[in-house]
């Protein structure tokens, strides 16, 4: 088995891993190793041919490919060591990575710090309890995106989409433009999961109906999908008897949510947060295992790639600080508490005495006008007015000032006007 020793090892070369590897080099790490199981860099951005990326970072609307390419070009010029076609099999709590590749066989990578950037996975049919047959033609939206945008296949001719998250909406437009008839989008919740602008640009624009409080209950077809049954649901999301209808189609596209991919993290003994389904992180995005950091969608499912890159940079600066001995190995933490209207906050805890942090949160429900507050030990750390908040849009902000030893409570209070 080949052994290598590096300062910082990054697992996964999507937007988070690319940003983390670059920032680790910029911050002074000598040997930075980026490992990726795919044959090329860029992760999921490779299949995101649509535009709307990079508004925050580059100030213009880029396609996912253009956004990735900007980082790939920099990585290739940066001195980051890249190993493609290399699959990480195990990460240990002692910061050793076991990986394998076709060209080198087994690899043992000993790292001063490890940055986890494996991204997330799509929920599948098995996770949404659809009954019926198991024919070909039931695919996740991301799989359809890869077939259509990268490999040049059309996986069906008449599609039904379950779930109104952004990937499902983007694929509704994409399939329509490629000549697949999109019959409808069904959403079990009473409100759409994706952004309003995607509903307008991807559905309304092509007269694709969106049926809320409606779900797919059954798949029919022996070899290939022939139809699906859909039904309206009640307040408890249970199908209402007698509302069932059959919709003919040969493709069922599932856009029913994303889950951080933490198989490697669990193996390393990293503590996970049941709400984000990602690691419990601190202000430098270090996990509960000293020297093991996490960023991007493995940490929490973001919606903007700009924030994914930022999280990679935060983790990389933390990792470089860790190997330089600048981080306490057993830090004292204060929790960040999700208060009124806040679903979760990442990072979940801050080091005593740290000089602030970038926080990411999601609200529980849409709020037209609101005030965000961060309080600690009776002290108001910050207050900020916000407008048009909604669960699909993550809120990112900087908490400045030294953090003491009292918990930090983050709340969002609705402002009601006459």
């Amino acid at each position: 088995m080949k052994r290598v020793s590096v300062d910082v090892a990054v697992v996964g070369a999507g937007p988070a891993g690319l940003a983390a590897a670059l920032e680790a080099r910029r911050s002074g790490a000598k040997r930075v190793l980026l490992i990726e199981r795919d044959a090329e860099l860029g992760g999921i951005l490779q299949q995101c041919i649509h535009d709307g990326f990079g508004l925050h970072r580059f100030g213009r609307r880029m396609s996912g490919n253009q956004y990735a390419q900007a980082f790939i070009d920099e990585v290739e010029a940066s001195g980051v060591e890249v190993r493609l076609g290399t699959m990480a099999l195990e990460v240990t709590g002692a910061r050793v990575i076991y990986a394998c590749s076709k060209s080198e066989g087994m690899l043992e990578i000993e790292a001063g710090a490890v940055i986890l950037a494996m991204g997330c996975r799509e929920r599948t049919a098995n996770q949404v309890l659809i009954c019926g047959d198991r024919p070909a033609g039931v695919l996740t939206a991301g799989a359809v995106q890869r077939y259509v945008n990268m490999e040049g296949y059309l996986p069906g001719s008449r599609a039904v989409i379950l779930g109104s998250g952004d990937i499902g909406l983007i694929m509704a437009r994409r399939m329509t433009l490629e000549g697949i008839e999109v019959k409808a989008v069904y959403e079990v919740m009473p409100a759409p999961g994706g952004l309003t602008r995607n509903i307008v640009q991807c559905l309304d624009e092509f007269n694709i109906p969106l049926h809320l409080s409606t779900t797919v209950t059954r798949v029919n077809g022996r070899k290939r999908v022939e139809s699906v049954a859909v039904a309206r649901v009640d307040k408890n999301l249970k199908p209402i008897p007698g509302t069932e209808e059959t919709v003919g189609c040969d493709l069922l596209v599932l856009a029913v949510g994303l889950i951080p991919e933490n198989e490697l993290s669990r193996g390393a003994g990293v503590a996970l947060d049941p709400r984000t389904k990602g690691p419990v992180l601190d202000d430098v995005f270090m996990t509960s295992v000293p020297g093991v950091f996490a960023c991007g969608n493995v940490a929490v499912v973001f919606d903007l790639v700009d924030y994914v890159s930022q999280s990679g940079e935060i983790a990389a600066r933390g990792a470089v600080d860790f190997i330089a001995g600048g981080l306490c190995r057993q830090p004292q933490y204060v929790p960040v508490e999700a208060g009124e209207n806040v679903n979760f906050v990442v990072p979940q805890r801050l080091r005593h005495g740290c000089a602030g942090a970038r926080l990411f949160l999601r609200v529980k429900k849409p709020l037209r006008e609101a005030v965000l507050t961060c309080e600690s030990g009776g002290r108001m750390l910050m207050q900020k007015s916000l407008r048009h908040l909604a669960p699909p849009e993550m809120i990112a902000f900087d908490l400045a000032g030294r953090i003491g030893d009292a918990p930090v409570a983050v709340s969002i209070r609705e402002v009601t006007r006459e």
Partner: protein
């Protein structure tokens, strides 16, 4: 007079716009700000869209090359532009930003490669 409804996408408020023409003037109702007014007028008179799609490429690491327009093009020209692109064939390697089709269908916008793509290594197995 040929009234149209739009949902404004300038910001997350999602204002519902009603746009119509009156004595040669385009009027907008329901907008919350000036940017919404401009959006409503644009959507009514000359809706513009970015074009993103893929084109066939030979000898590359992937069979499809993603492309993007250098600016917005009139919405009604989208299908014509797509048809024009689908008739073209390219060879790897390509650099991100390389012009794939100049002034596509007379829109004034170029279509460019949105990633770099090298040649595929000869068959590994």
């Amino acid at each position: 007079m040929n009234e149209k409804q739009f949902v404004c996408i300038v910001c997350p408020s999602g204002c519902r716009l009603t746009v119509w023409e009156e004595n040669g003037e385009v009027k907008v109702e329901g907008n919350g700000c000036k940017r919404g007014l401009a959006h409503g007028i644009g959507e009514y008179t000359n809706p513009m869209r970015m074009l993103t799609t893929t084109v066939a490429i030979r000898g590359g690491t992937q069979p499809r090359l993603p492309v993007i327009s250098s600016g917005e093009i009139p919405k009604e020209k989208l299908s014509e532009c797509l048809a024009a692109l689908y008739g073209l064939r390219f060879d790897a390697p390509v650099k991100c930003g390389d012009v794939i089709c100049e002034n596509i269908c007379g829109t004034g916008a170029d279509v460019v490669a949105s990633r770099s793509m090298g040649r595929a290594a000869s068959k590994e197995e």
